[in-house]
Each structure stands twice: as structure tokens, then as C-alpha cells.
């Protein structure tokens, strides 16, 4: 009795619950939930065969493979280099470190279209970087991977960095004093601690890459079946006033994103549990 009374009191002493929660729900519904529900609502008006024909169209399927493959490749590149960069920024001192640290946020701050035209120009066959390669980078899937690597880098660095910073030095000392080499300490002690953060960073970068549009369209070349990403298919259908087709593809993308979000939470929960039980 006393406990419920206390709890009630705790709930009521600060004012504004109805007002703030009501406003939050209203604003959320108008800006996010109602508009998003339109995708599913409009899809329901399609017949199943119509829906299936649109989403299983060879051009669409090619775009899923491309979007998924390039996002995966960029994610792996970012896991490797992002972890190294996070490590270097936390553990070492070198001139210009503060500037480098700040620069990692550039992909968050720079408009995607600006990044897109800069990367396309750099990596085109006669660009500053492109000219040194015998094969084409821009206007191929390789170019898309570069744009997605640019976009995804801060996600990995910024999730691994704080974990590395908060890692207690005692466990490394314990490992070293028990005779482990530095490499053993890293692979057996430090890396498992970083793994959940690395997975989170990868998933965030991957999810962002699947939907990325601005930085990719300039460098991709946008050839159907070859370098056409899924968001571009939606864009093309919209330009042809094929709203039904665009909505069907959007449904596939939305469901993929939501499943991915769920998966991220499950993986995080699993890794947390596994390493906490140890």
C-alpha cells in the first residue's frame, strides 16, 4: 500500500505528463507513423500477383543484390579500418590527432550530394585517384562501395571509440602478467570486449548504406541491371508516375530495414549475455 502510494506520488509531483506525452504521440503520428503506414496501406490495394511481379522483376532483383552486396562490402571495410582508426585515436599520440578525430565526423556533417560529386570526380577515370588505376572505379559497383564506405565510417569509429576508452586497463595487465603476448591479449581479451560495439557499428553502417541515395547516385553510373541501387529504382518509378510500383519496392526495403533492426537488437542482446555470463 505504502509502495504504490510512493510510486503514485513520484509520478504526479512533476507536472506535464499528459501534455508532453500527448504532444509526443501526436507529433510522432503526424510526421512519422501516418506517412509510413501509407506504404503498407497502398500495398494492400495491390493484388498479390501484381505485387510479386513488381518486386520479383529481374531489374529489381539485380538492384537488391547490388545494394546488399555493396553495403556488405563497405560494412566489412569499415569494420576493419574503422576499428583500426578507433584504436589509433584512443591509444596513440601523434601530431594532428585532434584534427583527425574531428575529421571522422565529416561524413555526418557533409551533405551527401556534396560527397557524391566529390567522390565521383576523384574516382572517375581521369580524376585525381582514378587515373592511377587500369580499371574503372567510378560508374561500377566498386564506386558504390567507395561512396558507402565514406558514409558508414563514422558509425563504426564512433561506436567502438567510447568502448575502447572505457576499457579498464586491469584486464590487460592481468592478461600480460599471466604471460600472454600482446597479440594474445588483443585477440583473447580486448577484441571480445569490443565485439558488441563493432557489430553495432557495422549494423548501423549497413542499415544506412542500404537506403543511401545522395552520395551513391553520382558515382554509380546508374546502369539498369549493373549499377542501379534499390532506392534509385523507387526514384525512377516515381519519375514515371508509377506510384504503385514504387510503393511495392519501398515495402520490400522497409521490411528489410525493420527485420535488420530486430536482428541488431537480438545480436546485441545475445553478445551481451554471452560475455556477461563469462
Amino acid at each position: 500500500m505504502e509502495l504504490t502510494l510512493k510510486k503514485r506520488k513520484k509520478n504526479t509531483i512533476i507536472p506535464g505528463f499528459t501534455l508532453t506525452l500527448g504532444y509526443t504521440m501526436l507529433y510522432l503520428s503526424i510526421i512519422v507513423l501516418l506517412p509510413l503506414s501509407m506504404v503498407f496501406f497502398n500495398t494492400l490495394s495491390m493484388s498479390w500477383s501484381e505485387f510479386w511481379e513488381t518486386i520479383a522483376d529481374p531489374r529489381a532483383v539485380a538492384s537488391y543484390k547490388l545494394s546488399f552486396g555493396t553495403a556488405l562490402a563497405a560494412g566489412i571495410i569499415n569494420v576493419i579500418f574503422g576499428t583500426i582508426i578507433a584504436w589509433v585515436l584512443v591509444r596513440y599520440q601523434f601530431p594532428g590527432k585532434r584534427i583527425v578525430d574531428g575529421l571522422v565526423d565529416l561524413p555526418f556533417a557533409l551533405p551527401t550530394a556534396v560527397a557524391g560529386i566529390a567522390l565521383a570526380t576523384l574516382y572517375s577515370p581521369n580524376g585525381w585517384v582514378g587515373q592511377f588505376f587500369d580499371f574503372k572505379i567510378a560508374f561500377t559497383p566498386l564506386g558504390i562501395i567507395i561512396a558507402l564506405t565514406f558514409i558508414g565510417l563514422p558509425f563504426v569509429v564512433r561506436t567502438v571509440q567510447p568502448v575502447l576508452q572505457n576499457l579498464s586497463s586491469e584486464i590487460e595487465e592481468a592478461s600480460a602478467s599471466l604471460g600472454a603476448t600482446r597479440l594474445q591479449t588483443f585477440t583473447k581479451v580486448i577484441f571480445p570486449e569490443l565485439l558488441p560495439a563493432i557489430i553495432t557499428g557495422f549494423s548501423l553502417a549497413f542499415a544506412r548504406s542500404l537506403g543511401e541515395y545522395g552520395s551513391v547516385v553520382f558515382i554509380a553510373g546508374n546502369m539498369p541491371m549493373k549499377t542501379e541501387i534499390t532506392p534509385l529504382i523507387i526514384m525512377t518509378k516515381l519519375e514515371q508516375y508509377d506510384y504503385v510500383g514504387a510503393t511495392a519496392i519501398a515495402t520490400v526495403m522497409l521490411i528489410t530495414s525493420f527485420v535488420l533492426l530486430l536482428l541488431i537488437n537480438i545480436i546485441q542482446w545475445y553478445t551481451n549475455r554471452k560475455f556477461n555470463l563469462k
Partner: protein, 292 residues
């Protein structure tokens, strides 16, 4: 006689210990500098080179062309439109962020985690889909299309469409900065203020706001940067009407597609300067927040 010897032995042992300890706790200089070199090369290739190339290409044909590209009426109209969008979107999302964070962190209620997930939802949605949903709502064939047409209200291919699509994309920025911060700070200070007789508003302005100001500013900066740069969603709803519904990123796209590279990079350089300022302010905030 024996005492000093013992001490000496002990110290030498200690020194030995420290030496082996520091050896196994650090990588060799070779590994260290290789990792630093790899990082710097990677960042140079992916971040620094693109940034430098923007300014070099923009100034390739001299200052006069650069200034002319930015003083172009269409460019100025794009800058004005982008500023208008920022002035509407950022305050609205900031108010929402503060209100939502207050509701979520000051009270306990069922379904709180679901609400937090829903607020984060726009991060998981492709910008192109963010634009599409508003076409489905307000477009000619959309849910409200007929009604809007009869009442002569333009949303899609006009300013309201650009604003609302940008609002969707930047929706979570302020809220997701404030929620963890206010959760950590708890409710004791607000409770003290209220029980001493202050009103809710007074408590917010004199107790809560000073506590969250750096977090709020941080969220505002990120929200602002994304609002300025949003491309995909705006591209879908704007209709690309030159001098009318073209924001800065859309103007860059048009110039680039028309092979006016110098002009495209001139406008891009302006946006890059804004991005660099954003990063600098962000670092100052982080530094200030650490001090407090």
C-alpha cells in the same frame, strides 16, 4: 649491512617487473606506427582528398567565376530556400525533442521502450522512401490529393512538402541526444524545485534547461547539418523547379548534371564550409560538456 642490500634487491625486482609489464601492455613501435600510417592513408583517401578536391575544383577558374556561381540568382534562391527550411524544421524538431525527452525521462509508463524505438524509426528508413510517403499522402493521386486540389493547397512540389519530408528525416536527432542525458540526470532536481513551490515552466527553464543545454545544442547542430544537406527525401518531393523549389543540394545536382562542374563545386564548397563549422562547434561542445 644486510638492510641496504635487501632494499636494492627489491627495487631492482620492481624495475624488472615494470619493464616486462610495459612491454606486454604495448605494441611494438613498428606495429604502432604501421597502424597510424594505415589510418592516415585511409582517412586521406576517403575524407581529406574529397574535401580538398571540392575547394580546388571550385576555385579552378578563379575567384571571379567562383563568386559569379554563388551570386547566380538560382543559387541565391536555393540558399534562401534552404535557410527557410532550416528555420522551420530545426525549431519544430527541437521542441519535439525536448517535449518527448521530458515525457520519457520524467515519468514511468508502459510501452516506453516501444516509443523510443518509434522515435528512432526514421533513421532506419531510406530518404527516398521518406519522400515517397508524402507523395502517397499529399500527391495528386494521394490520400488527401483530391481535397488539397479542391482547396487549392500545394504541399508536394512546394515548400510545405520539402519542410515536412525534411522533418521526417531529421525527426530523431534532438530527442535521441536528450533522452539518454536526461535519463542519467534523473528527476531529483526537478522534484526539489517543484516541492519548493516553483511552477513546471519555471522548473524547466531554471533547473532542467541549464542541465541539458550542451546536449540540446549538440542535437541542434546535428539536426541542422542534416536539414541543410538532406537530398534524397527532398529530391522526391521538390519537383526540381529551378529558382523555386530547389534547395542547395538539389541545385548542386542540377549544375553537376549539366556539366557545370565549377559552379556545382562552388556551391558545394559553401556547404563544405558549413560542414567544417559544424564539426568545429561539435568539438567545442564536447569539450565544454566534459568541463561541466
Amino acid at each position: 649491512m644486510t638492510k641496504p642490500l635487501e632494499v636494492e634487491q627489491e627495487t631492482s625486482l620492481k624495475v624488472g617487473n615494470v619493464a616486462t609489464k610495459s612491454y606486454a601492455l604495448q605494441e611494438s613501435a613498428l606495429v604502432k606506427w604501421s597502424l597510424i600510417t594505415i589510418s592516415l592513408i585511409f582517412l586521406a583517401l576517403f575524407l581529406i582528398l574529397p574535401l580538398v578536391s571540392i575547394f580546388v575544383t571550385a576555385l579552378e577558374k578563379g575567384w571571379a567565376t567562383y563568386v559569379a556561381s554563388i551570386a547566380d540568382p538560382d543559387a541565391l534562391a536555393a540558399i534562401k530556400l534552404t535557410l527557410t527550411v532550416v528555420l522551420i524544421v530545426v525549431p519544430l524538431n527541437a521542441i519535439f525533442g525536448i517535449v518527448a525527452a521530458w515525457a520519457i525521462t520524467k515519468f514511468s509508463f508502459k510501452g516506453k521502450n516501444v516509443l523510443i524505438t518509434l522515435i528512432d524509426l526514421p533513421f532506419a528508413v531510406s530518404p527516398v522512401i521518406a519522400g515517397l510517403v508524402f507523395i502517397l499522402l499529399f500527391g495528386a493521386q494521394g490520400l488527401f490529393g483530391e481535397w488539397l486540389f479542391q482547396n487549392d493547397i500545394k504541399i508536394v512540389f512546394a515548400l510545405p512538402g520539402i519542410v515536412i519530408a525534411t522533418m521526417f528525416v531529421t525527426f530523431p536527432f534532438v530527442a535521441r541526444e536528450l533522452i539518454p542525458l536526461m535519463q542519467m540526470q534523473g528527476i531529483t532536481e526537478e522534484e526539489a524545485s517543484i516541492s519548493l513551490g516553483a511552477s513546471g515552466w519555471k522548473t524547466f527553464f531554471f533547473v532542467t534547461l541549464p542541465n541539458i543545454k550542451w546536449g540540446l545544442l549538440y542535437g541542434l547542430i546535428l539536426c541542422n547539418a542534416r536539414t541543410i544537406g538532406e537530398f534524397g527525401a527532398v529530391s522526391v518531393v521538390s519537383g526540381h523547379i529551378r529558382g523555386m523549389t530547389n534547395t542547395m543540394p538539389l541545385h548542386i545536382e542540377i549544375l553537376y548534371n549539366e556539366y557545370q562542374f565549377t559552379a556545382a563545386f562552388a556551391v558545394a564548397s559553401l556547404m563544405s564550409i558549413l560542414a567544417i563549422i559544424t564539426i568545429i562547434i561539435k568539438n567545442i561542445i564536447e569539450w565544454k560538456a566534459k568541463d561541466v
